[in-house]
């Protein structure tokens, strides 16, 4: 019999029972909640007179709707100007209070984007099953956990039963061999993978990212990569546990301590695919081949290396593809054949659960250090992923680098990633964004999103147009 993949192991360790129809009842170790997808679940519990199964498995934090401007933020929940946002955040507070679920509230130093907070607090650990009513829960797989997004009725289901009814996915391995060129980051790897397999390429699979490049990524980089696996259609992305994982987890608030730590580490050391494990699909990329990426269209798969030119609808093979490109170009206000480097962003957004960790901010700061953003940039937002990230960045002086360059340094939250709060694009505006989705209207009605790495976003802010970040950093050092 062939060996097991990491995913097979995690699945098996949490399987309560299998059902004849191929679904399984999977035990959930950690359930993260935020204000957008939980109110109806709590409403459902109340209506049915049910209580949470296991309180200590849950952790809640508001993130999508929280204002990121210091002045508005200082008023706490009551100070949120938008009444609907305020109601959602207040409802999370109320529900957590009623059901006795631990919540990190809006102005707690540990508050932030749920996918940044989970690993940062040690609430997400290797070997766990982690779910959250948010598709970017795949992020947590970077720790060698089985983590994926669920819908609101599943939020209610997990609250009430500590289990998820789910079906085993197939195994895919994405192997990135060799080494990345300087200036090329985990975000570029993620976009290059999506460019290769498409936004549905991972549908039905759990992706394990492997290979030398992945091994050499920091935990932050691995989180970026796993975060984007949902944009390739895969609900879960994961990376095997190694020394980097264990060092990352050590000493965090909710990490095991003392004897339990040693016991945990011994168990975590087994969290990798067996050498003879068989994957249903495999993709191999060479790290050296990956260039800094920029999306030009309205789907993350519409992506090119920064030296590329916008594609021609007529050159596409199928009628559907022609139409998709034509529609995307129209929405994005771009012309076939236009170089990516001619695109001029109106705004820049550095943040989101994809790229708002300390390493991301350091990368962006390294590019803007001692420079000014271009006069044509209306706004450049830097939004740390959590209060902890913010404090760390400030301790390193990164905030001042951004402010000196003419950028805005904000309070933690989802911010312009999805424009549920005041941070959004105007119609027709282009944005160099480190977030994960460039769908129509995602960052504001009529807004035009270009997904890039933090370094590339910073480079675009400085140059006023997309540019290969390596051309800025080479003559710097």
């Amino acid at each position: 019999m062939a060996g097991q993949t990491l995913y097979d192991k995690l699945w098996q360790q949490h399987l309560v029972e299998s059902r004849d129809d191929g679904t399984g009842l999977l035990y959930i170790d950690r359930h993260l909640l935020h204000e957008v997808t939980s109110p109806q679940a709590f409403e459902g519990l109340r209506l049915a007179g049910r209580q949470p199964w296991r309180l200590d498995a849950n952790l809640a934090v508001p993130d999508h709707n929280v204002p990121t401007e210091a002045a508005e933020r200082s008023g706490g929940v009551a100070g949120i100007v938008d009444p609907i946002s305020r109601l959602q955040v207040q409802t999370l507070d109320d529900n957590c209070g009623d059901f006795k679920i631990v919540e990190i509230p809006i102005n707690d130093r540990r508050q932030g984007i749920v996918h940044v907070v989970g690993p940062e607090q040690g609430a997400t650990l290797p070997g766990m099953t982690v779910v959250c009513g948010d598709s970017h829960t795949s992020t947590h797989g970077a720790l060698g956990a089985l983590a994926h997004g669920i819908g609101t009725s599943e939020v209610e289901h997990v609250l009430a039963t500590q289990c998820l009814i789910t079906r085993k996915m197939k195994n895919m391995r994405v192997q990135v061999d060799g080494a990345l060129q300087p200036g090329v980051t985990a975000k570029d790897v993620a976009l290059a993978v999506i460019g290769r397999i498409g936004t549905a390429g991972g549908t039905g699979y759990a992706i394990e990212f492997a290979g030398e490049v992945v091994r050499n990524l920091t935990m932050e980089g691995r989180m970026t990569l796993c975060n984007m696996s949902i944009e390739a259609g895969a609900r879960a992305g994961m990376v095997a546990v190694d020394d980097a994982t264990i060092e990352y987890v050590r000493g965090r608030t909710y990490s095991p301590k003392g004897e339990q730590w040693d016991q945990a580490v011994a168990a975590w050391r087994e969290l990798h695919s067996d050498p003879d494990a068989v994957f249903d699909a495999e993709l191999t990329l060479r790290g050296e081949d990956i260039q800094p990426q920029v999306t030009w269209g309205t789907s993350p798969e519409m992506v090119l290396p920064v030296d590329g030119v916008v594609p021609d609808p007529d050159a596409q093979e199928t009628a559907t593809a022609k139409e998709a490109v034509r529609r995307a170009l129209q929405y994005m206000g771009l012309k076939a054949g236009q170089p990516i480097t001619d695109i001029r962003p109106d705004r820049v957004f550095i943040g989101s659960c994809t790229n708002s960790r300390i390493e991301d901010l350091r990368e962006a700061a390294a590019v803007v250090r001692g420079r000014k953003i271009a006069a044509s940039i209306k706004q450049a937002l830097v939004v740390p992923g959590s209060g902890e990230v913010k404090a760390q960045a400030e301790a390193e002086g990164l905030d001042l680098i951004f402010i000196d360059a003419g950028m805005e340094w904000r309070e933690p939250g989802c911010s312009m990633c999805l424009a549920m709060n005041a941070d959004k694009l105007g119609a027709g505006e282009h944005c160099a964004s480190t977030s994960n989705r460039n769908f129509e209207g995602r960052q504001g009605f009529g807004g035009r999103t270009h997904l890039v790495s933090p370094a590339m976003a910073a480079a675009a802010a400085v140059a006023g147009h997309f540019v290969d970040v390596r051309s800025l950093t080479e003559n710097q050092s």
Binding site: Y27, S153, I165, T199, P256, A324, F445
Partner: protein, 215 residues
């Protein structure tokens, strides 16, 4: 949850690939803390010429005359014909809620995004994946004849077209059972409560660090 047995309904087109959840229900409507009332904002950006706001009266908004679902011939449709990868994007359940609130009971497409597909069953909607050729044929037949009605028979697992064709479809036994009986997942799972408790005890022995840290 509404049960689904045999449903006969007018078919309407959503004729583009990769319809994502932002398109199904734009994010400004996600702020609601309710689970109903999203129907008027289904496909909001395509359906109306202005930008929709939560809590607005949609009956006075300017309709996009080019959007199929606004055409009188599709009024009251409950079966949606769609293209590849329908429902991609986020895991938000507002997408099936909006479709359901609008009156859609069944969606037929060559393929669906995973999470969306799952979420449909939990909300009394039946998503049916059929070969692309078959979906194409249904689209053509629907465009060709006004009032094109499909009969979706879940017990028999077949779709019956107006000209008498029977198109079989697959559905997982468990999902079918729940949909047929309008069963709530939680109630079903709690029938296994003893098994969950037993598992939990063993799991705690094996991995004590997973318990009691957050409290």
């Amino acid at each position: 949850m509404n049960s689904f047995t045999v449903h006969s309904g007018l078919a309407a087109p959503m004729d583009r690939a990769n319809v994502d959840t932002d398109l199904i229900i734009p994010k400004q409507f996600l702020k609601s803390i309710k689970r109903s009332g999203f129907g008027p904002n289904l496909f909001d950006e395509l359906r109306y010429l202005d930008e929709g706001q939560p809590g607005q009266d949609c009956s006075t908004r300017p309709l996009n005359p080019d959007f199929a679902l606004n055409l009188p011939r599709y009024a009251g449709a409950s079966v949606l014909l769609a293209r590849e990868n329908f429902g991609c994007g986020s895991s938000r359940e507002h997408a099936p809620w909006a479709l359901e609130d609008f009156g859609i009971r069944c969606i037929i497409a060559p393929s669906f995004a995973d999470i969306f597909f799952n979420n449909c069953f939990k909300n009394g909607l039946l998503p049916i994946a059929l070969p692309a050729d078959t979906v194409n044929r249904l689209f053509e037949a629907m465009y060709a004849s006004e009032g094109y009605t499909l009969e979706v028979d879940l017990p028999a697992q077949e779709i019956r077209t107006p000209d008498g064709e029977r198109i079989p479809f697959k559905v997982e036994a468990f999902r079918k059972h729940c949909l047929l009986n309008g069963l709530d997942d939680i109630g079903l799972t709690l029938e296994s409560a003893a098994a969950i408790r037993t598992f939990e005890v063993g799991h705690r022995e094996r991995s004590p660090w997973l318990f009691d840290t957050i409290a």
